[in-house]
């Protein structure tokens, strides 16, 4: 006890202040989710009356029942389709982005810097600008009303992913790769055996961003998919909202939204360790 320094009063106040601010903003962030879950379990009539109490949690499953019964249980199909698109797009993006990032970071070739510069410059082009030309290309190729247009563009070019992973790969010491080369590793083996394991946190971070982006891509799903069997979670939730909506459907919207965040929550909680590490080491949020 003697050796311990007494914490100054100023420090304690500062810590308390920081904790209070963090708690305040955490509650602010959590509140919409809490409200959504609370309403999803409420009696639809109570929601209509606006009399849902903040701290009264009832367990009424009517809204969930309505969601699962909607169009003969199409939610399972929507889940499957959304997962298929999001997982394929995510793994594809991780593979191509990490390959490109590795090349830009560690392989010396003529024009690598100008090419990388041009590549990065495309970050400044908003997605809305390329949406119509891309749509027309896929329409001409007869690939609309399929998952291909929702997966392929992200897999082919994800500038943000390349930029993020390159900044991570650059920090890997060259000596490690040189040692692997002496042991007989080629470019691809070095990439698989050395680079990928070392950039795991960055891959998880990018993967999470990519998955969330794909999972929530309402406008992309809307314009490319028409067949009911190809419906996805964002389309389904928009369908729950619909036009001329009555208050009676709010519970269904909340229940559908609650169900839609489950996969993202699971993935985030499972990969939280890597995610925090990835953000801390790349400085990218």
């Amino acid at each position: 006890m003697k050796g311990l320094k007494k914490t100054p009063k100023k420090e304690i106040i500062k810590t308390i202040l920081i904790v209070v601010i963090i708690i305040f903003f955490s509650l602010l962030s959590i509140f919409p989710f809490y409200w959504m879950i609370l309403n999803s379990f409420m009696d639809a009539k109570l929601i209509n009356q606006g009399s849902v109490q903040l701290f009264t949690f009832s367990l009424n499953f009517e809204s969930y029942k309505a969601v699962f019964q909607y169009k003969d249980g199409i939610i399972w199909r929507a889940y499957f389709n959304s997962l298929l698109i999001a997982l394929t797009a995510t793994f594809g993006t991780l593979f191509t982005s990490s390959l490109a990032a590795y090349a830009f970071a560690k392989i010396k070739f003529i024009g690598s810097k100008p090419i990388y510069g041009i590549f990065i410059a495309t970050l400044m082009i908003p997605g809305q600008v390329t949406m119509i030309p891309l749509f027309m290309m896929f329409a001409k190729a007869g690939l609309t009303n399929s998952f291909v247009p929702l997966i392929l563009p992200g897999v082919m070019i994800n500038t943000y992913g390349v930029f993020m992973l390159r900044s991570f790969i650059v920090s890997i010491p060259d000596s490690l790769l040189e040692a692997a080369e002496i042991d007989g590793c080629g470019y691809f083996r070095k990439y698989v055996r050395i680079v990928l394991p070392l950039i795991k946190p960055a891959l998880v971070t990018l993967g999470l961003f990519s998955f969330i982006g794909s999972w929530n891509n309402y406008i992309g799903h809307l314009i490319y998919l028409s067949d009911p069997s190809l419906t996805t979670i964002p389309l389904l939730i928009a369908g729950f909202k619909e036009t001329h909506m009555t208050g009676a459907a709010w519970g269904r919207v909340m229940a559908g939204s609650t169900l839609s965040i489950i996969p993202i929550s699971i993935i985030y909680l499972r990969c939280q360790k890597y995610f925090v590490q990835g953000i801390a080491t790349t400085g990218i949020k």
């Binding site: 329409a139 007869g142 459907a249």
Partner: protein
Amino acid sequence: MKKTLKTLSSFALFGILVVSASSCGNKPQVDEFGNTIVQISLMNSVNENPGWLAMIDAANEVLKANEEKVVIQPEIIETDSWDTYYTKISSNLIGNIGGTIGRIAESHVPLMIERTQARDLTALVEELKATNEFCDGIFEGVAENDGKYYGIPSGTQHMLLYYNKTIFDNYNAANPDTPLSYPSSDWNNASTFEEIADAARKLTSGTGATKRFGLSAGPFLAFAGMYSKNSGGVNIFDDEGNCCIDSQPFYDVYSWFEGMLVHDKSMPSTSDTAVLDAAGRFLGGNIAMFIDGVWQLHDICKYTEDEIGVAAIPVLDKSYKSHSTTFADRFWAASNSKHPEADYKALKALASVEAVNALASKQVGGLPIRKASLDTYLDSIRETKLADYVDVIKDGSENRVNVPYTTYYNQVDQQINQKMALWIIGDMSTVDFVKFMDRTMKDGMAGRL
């Protein structure tokens, strides 16, 4: 050599892939019986879908009976607004995929015409008109351009004043000395703005999330013409096409709204209905009077146990006749369809007695376009809790005010809505707001937006 061969075969494989992918283009679809499949794009609505599907089934029966070799299939588009629906059908039309016919809100028809997305349907309209079986003037309006018609109405929807009789009765029981009358159901002797504002003030009670408001009505541009006519003014434009918003009737109308929104707080603002919309609050008994369209009839019958009455839209003075804003959503046909003949036959079948009756019997889609089908629709209402109000519902459609939609209308509307927030919280006077509306409309007309 081996390497070159490998590279060449890779390129060849890629080429084959591209060619085969390209050849998957959209060809006219034909079913196993040789019928051309005409897809119809519809915006998803759980309440209305059964009506549209019944209409399509009936139209298919008509096509089959006439041996037309055409079959209609629905393409339900999962959206929550007409804007998003329009985005979807626009991309479909660019890609030549999806529905080659569809239904769209009246507000978007001028855009479809201007962008040459909608096909000229004059021949079909003339054919239908010649039967003399359709309601008067039903084909006129926004879908008419330079003497040509680009849409077939799917039904007409007009505005009504709904009121919660239970709330009125409870108020009267608690205040026997100063009872409130129900709003008038007579379109020639409607309740006045002052009477409605007084009732709204008295029926407003409580605070916070459970606050009950006296009246909900949208002070939006789409309804401005209706209220103006109910105050002795014109429907936005005069006969010469001049914008007349900067005139006394509009000041009277918006002063009435200001009284309830800003001073009495008897009308919910946009933030009050952000979590739960006005329709939901009315159905839940949180709003005593509610001015909205006939599309609410179905929900009112289904989702509230309170006694509901229907009345005419209020007027400034008893000397004015009450009018009702009318919307007529349209069926359109794609200008780039690969089977225009089949689309024509499909639309004709959708306008048949059988199809219109099938829709009317489900009580959705508004008032039918056919004279004879109107009874089917009204009979369906006679079987509901609103049976006593069939006449007031019917009469409202006869006092119609069409929204003067144009290609710039949506831009004008958006700009006015943005400024409306300032007016609602009292940061902008009614005079300034009306002048802003007038200026914005004139800017739109001059192409300055």
